[in-house]
Structure formats: C-alpha cells, structure tokens
C-alpha cells in the first residue's frame, strides 16, 4: 500500500463527517481609517508619511529617497512607478533572476488592502511579481491608498481581488523584518528590510 493510501485509510477510519462548519466569524465593529492603521503600523516598527495627493506624492518620495537611499540602487515595480511617474528609480524587470535584486537599497512597491487592526498591507503577486525584491532590499517603501484601509483582517481577506491567489504569492507585510531571538531584545532587520515606510495616497 502506498503511503498516500495508508494515511488516507487511517484518517478515514476516524472521520464521521458529522461536525458542521461553524460558518464565518462576524467581528464587532472595530475602529478603521487611516489614523488607526498608521498607529498600528508605527506600533510594529513601521513609519507613515502623508497621505499626499497625486501631485505631491512623487516629489515627497524623491526628497525622502535622497536621504535614505544614500546614492544606492532604488528599484520600483511597474505598478508603483506608473502611479509616481518619472523619478530617481529604475523599473524592476518582471523576468529578472531574483538574485539580481541583492544590493537594492530601496524597493518601492504598490500595496493593496491595508488593515487597521494590525498595520498589515497586502503585497500581491499581481502588483509585485518580483517576489524576492521586498525581502532582499535594505529599505522597503509601500504606497498605500487611504481608501484601501479596512478595520479588520476578515474584511481585508474579503476585499482582496478575485485573482489575488492566481499570481503565486500574496504576502501581508506588517512592519520591517524583526527578531527578538537574542535575550528577547527587539532588533529590526533580521533577514529582510531594516525599515518599512508607508506613503499614503489620497484617492
């Protein structure tokens, strides 16, 4: 008997298909809005800028990059660059070898749904096919629209576009990479980015 058959046979002997699924959880009305999201994000070590209107956004980001990138390589994904227009960033190639993003100083991505209860932002494969980019860069910037903020994680999953899973990966990012494995001392930048900055966009 194959391992598959054996395991399924053993499992089948102990399942009766009598316990119904309890149905979806209905969360109470939790506080939403940009301010709540910003506070949650700062609580997990992120920084929040704006929100800015479309006329200001690229300029504010460029000014900030001048200090932060320190002359290093700045890479933006197509979805973010098309919101920003031209600026001091190169376009991330879709077909690029993931290893080629090593050495990126700042990566700029377009975020999707943002969650007020935990500061998480959805990074979808559709908007950021370069899966390695937000993990190899030293600093990560996410552009988040103020009307993308929802109060809780249940609503956030409902708000995802229908094809959110069709592009291999969907990652909720909440703050910079972190560890507390050495005597419970919080250190940012364990393996991924040392910082996370969210630039708010007015719709």
């Amino acid at each position: 008997m194959s391992d598959r058959q054996l395991v399924l046979k053993r499992v089948r002997a102990s399942t009766r298909h009598r316990v119904d699924h309890p149905g979806p959880h209905q969360p109470p009305e939790l506080p939403g809005g940009w301010g709540t999201f910003a506070a949650a994000l700062e609580g997990v070590g992120g920084r929040v800028h704006g929100p800015f209107d479309s006329g200001q956004l690229a300029g504010r980001l460029s000014a900030w990059l001048e200090q932060r990138a320190d002359g290093g390589r700045v890479v933006a994904v197509e979805a973010a660059a098309s919101r920003l227009g031209p600026g001091p960033w190169e376009l991330a190639e879709v077909e690029a070898d993931p290893h080629s993003f090593e050495g990126t100083a700042v990566a700029v991505l377009l975020g999707g749904v943002a969650v007020a209860e935990n500061g998480a932002v959805a990074v979808e494969g559709r908007l950021a096919p370069q899966r390695a980019l937000p993990f190899l860069c030293r600093h990560l910037v996410l552009l988040v629209s103020t009307d993308a903020v929802v109060p809780d994680l249940h609503t956030a999953f409902h708000r995802l576009p229908n094809d959110a899973l069709a592009h291999h990966h969907l990652t909720w990012i909440s703050g910079p990479s972190k560890t507390a494995d050495i005597e419970q001392t919080l250190v940012y930048g364990a393996h991924g980015p040392l910082t996370l900055d969210v630039f708010g966009m007015e719709p």
Partner: protein, 454 residues
C-alpha cells in the same frame, strides 16, 4: 513520576539560569495578555477557531484530498509520508535527484520531530537553519528549547561567544543588534547560494491548495523565493477548510505567541513561482493514531503558538530541553504519549500541577490539563514500588484499626523520614520540599482531648 524531567531540568538549566528563563518566558505571557485585552471579540474568535478545527478533524480525509487536488492544479507536486523515516527519505531523494548540496531551512517543528537535519547531515548535505534562534541552537549543536523562541535558554554572552567561535564576530561582543547583523551577513550569503529551500507550513488551505507560512524575520520568504526548488513539509493536521477561515487563526496566532497583532510576514503561496518547483510533503507520523482517540484528537488543533509553554509553571522553571521532545511544555506532554509509546513520553503528563493555566490561554480551546489527567489514566507510568505503595495504602485506608495503628508507627518514624539520608525512600521528594514539624498528636487524638476538656 516525573523524576526524569526533574533530573534533566537540574542538569540542563543551572540554578542561576532558572530565574532568568522564568522571567523571560513569563514576559511573553504578559505581552500575550496585553494583546488579548485589545481584541473585543477574543472569546468568540477562540470558540470559532475550535469549532473550525473540530469540523476539520472530522472531515480530514476529504479536506486532504481536496487540498491535494487543488495544490496539484496550481502546479505543486504533493507527496505523502507515513512516518518520520519516510518523510526524511523522501526529502533526501528530492535533493539527491537534483544533485543539490546546499539547503536553507526555516523553522519547522515537524522537521524537528522527524530529525530531518541530522538525517540530511549524515548524508552529506549542507543544511543551514535560518531563523536566528534556530541558527543559534544549530551552531551550538543542541535542540531548540522553545517552539517560538528556540534559544530562549541562552544568554547574550553565551551567544556572543558562540558567534565568535563559529562566525568570527569580535571577542566579547554581546550586543544583540550587532550579533544579529553578524548572523544576517553570514546567512544572506547562504540564502543567495542555496540550491533548495525547506520550510514548515503554518496552515494549508484545502479550498485553494495554498500554503500559509508566517515569520517575523522574513527568512522563510527568502528560502522560498531564491532557490529553484521549495520543499514544504507539514503534518496532516495543518489543514483548514477555506481562505475565509484563515483570518480567524491569524488573528489568534501572533497575539498568543508574542503579543504582536500579526507577524511581520504572512505569506500565502499557491503553486510554484514561475520557473521553479514546489514540493509539498504531507506527514502522518502518529497523527492518525491521535485522530482515532476521542479523548486526545483535539490536541491536533494546536497551531503551535507556544502560549501554553509561556504560562506553564513547570515549563518556565524546567526549560524545554528537560522534556526530551521536539515540542515541549503542556502541548508537548499531551502530544508525546499519543505520537510514541515509551517510558519518557508516558512520564511527561505527570510533570504538571494540573493548574489549568495552559487551558485558559490556548487560542484554539484545547482542554490541555484534562488531557494530561486522561493520559495518566490511559498510560500509567508508575513503577512497581509505587504501585505496591498505592495498593498497600488502599488496604490500610479500608481498615480503620490498621490505619490508626500504622498512623502511630508513622508518627514515631516521622523525624527520620523527614531528614535526607542515603537510602531514605523519600529523599527525592525532599529535594525540593520540606516536611513540617510533626504535631505530636494525630487529629483524632487531639479531637478527643479538646472535646473532653470542653
């Protein structure tokens, strides 16, 4: 009795380290309490999670088949392993077939349980644990002592000395931030050179065939997105029915573990990335036996948050290594006798005061302390001497005259029994306790005297 655990704890966690360990672990419990207090629907959420898991375990066969079908449709290769050995051989074969030598791994309690690292090392593979805590214990050649914070038993000084020996950090360096940077630099190179990434899985969604992997460091993501092959290993109990169920568990998991509202990275992966391979290994290794037990199947609901470890007075003072299992603490003591049958596993349910704190914090409503008690009945671990003592006690209790006679004898022997001397059968018991002074009179004698006086 839990003498083995007691002895190991004394050997493995020196007296001075106990207080520090206790405080560090309980701090996680405190953070958990603060996070929980900020979630108004915490109790309904816990009940919902428990109900989803009950449904899942009762439909596990159809959910496993559905997951397999959907994951395959998305381009993953799905494998099954009946036990640890089958799992280890399967992973080794996947690597050998591709002539792979360099492997990066992210945290997985399942592969700890299967002893995958040692198995692969023996066959000449270079396997690097990438979670910082796991890397520390790997370099120190010891197992993790906590499921969320693997090196919680080590001080910064010990870690600094280890990094100095193994990674050439400056002698005497013990600053956590600088030590973390040393590990980051070393491991970044290993990520970039890796030919395969092995990860655990937090949840597998049957409806979509997706894998959900959470970390704070981002190490699992680097392991998944750089090498050309990703091997994901999971126990068959990791299934959840639908994507709509996922936020229920995600809202509970990080808050219960470290008090964070969510981990820094929560990745939902459906199929391989373009041009790469994804292999999923579904492992039984005793889980179907646990599923067959009405008393203990709910232990398969565990989402490995570690909250029951952090609150447990025995774990906090004994440390994880004393348990001798991949998963320590109350959940480890509940799982061990179900997954294997040896004296060590049988003894673990006795290492508990049954205070119920574990049950009170469990985010998926596992009745941990009731299960510990149930194991004591189902798999007794008393030795012949203890059994004789208990049987004798039953006879004595049933005969009042004999009871009174032996009570007087015991009163005479008391001063000798209450002291430690070589050969005293009560010596072990007295290691950590003191007997009170003998009152001189038994309760009955005193009762009669007081009544006559009155």
């Amino acid at each position: 009795m839990s003498q083995d655990l007691d002895r190991r704890a004394r050997e493995l966690l020196p007296e001075l380290a106990v207080e520090r360990h206790d405080a560090a672990v309980f701090d996680l419990r405190r953070r958990r309490d603060e996070a929980v207090a900020s979630v108004p629907d915490w109790e309904p959420l816990r009940e919902r999670a428990a109900a989803i898991k009950r449904h899942t375990l009762d439909h596990l066969d159809v959910l496993l088949e559905r997951f397999e079908e959907r994951a395959r449709a998305a381009g993953a290769v799905v494998h099954w392993a009946r036990d640890a050995e089958a799992h280890n051989l399967l992973v080794a074969r996947l690597l050998e077939e591709r002539d792979i030598a360099r492997v990066v791994k992210s945290k997985s309690m399942l592969t700890e349980e299967c002893g995958l690292n040692a198995f692969l090392a023996k066959r000449g593979f270079d396997v690097v644990d990438t979670d910082l805590g796991e890397r520390i214990v790997q370099l120190g050649d010891e197992p993790p002592s906590h499921i969320i914070v693997p090196a919680i038993h080590r001080t910064r000084g010990e870690i600094g000395a280890l990094f100095h020996r193994k990674m050439g950090s400056p002698a005497g360096e013990s600053d956590p931030e600088r030590l973390t940077r040393v590990a980051r630099r070393d491991l970044r190179g290993r990520f970039l050179a890796a030919e395969a990434g092995i990860t655990g899985v937090n949840f597998a969604v049957a409806e979509t065939g997706s894998l959900v992997v959470v970390t704070n460091e981002g190490n699992a993501d680097l392991g998944m997105c750089l090498p050309p092959i990703h091997i994901a290993c999971l126990g068959i109990e990791k299934l959840i029915p639908t994507m709509e169920d996922l936020p229920v568990f995600l809202r509970l998991l990080a808050r219960s573990a470290t008090g964070q509202p969510i981990t820094a990275y929560t990745s939902v992966v459906t199929g391989p990335r373009p041009g790469a391979e994804l292999h999923v290994v579904l492992v039984d290794n005793g889980r179907s036996d646990l599923l067959a037990s009405e008393n203990h199947r709910s232990a398969l609901s565990c989402i490995r948050c570690g909250a029951c470890l952090n609150t447990c007075p025995v774990y906090r003072r004994a440390g994880g290594h004393a348990y001798g299992t991949a998963v320590p603490g109350p959940i480890g003591a509940v799982l061990a006798p179900g997954l294997r049958d040896d004296a060590g596993a049988r003894a673990l349910p006795h290492a508990s005061s049954l205070c119920g704190s574990c049950t009170a914090v469990c985010p998926v409503g596992i009745d941990l302390h009731d299960q510990l008690l149930a194991w004591r009945r189902e798999k007794p671990s008393t030795g012949p001497l203890e059994r004789l003592a208990l049987e004798t006690a039953a006879v004595v209790m049933g005969h009042p005259r004999l009871y009174r006679l032996l009570g007087r004898v015991a009163g005479r022997l008391w001063p000798a029994l209450a002291r430690r001397w070589p050969g005293n059968p009560a010596s072990h018991w007295l290691d950590s306790r003191e007997l009170p002074e003998h009152p001189g009179l038994s309760f009955s004698q005193r009762w009669i005297r007081e009544r006559d006086r009155g």
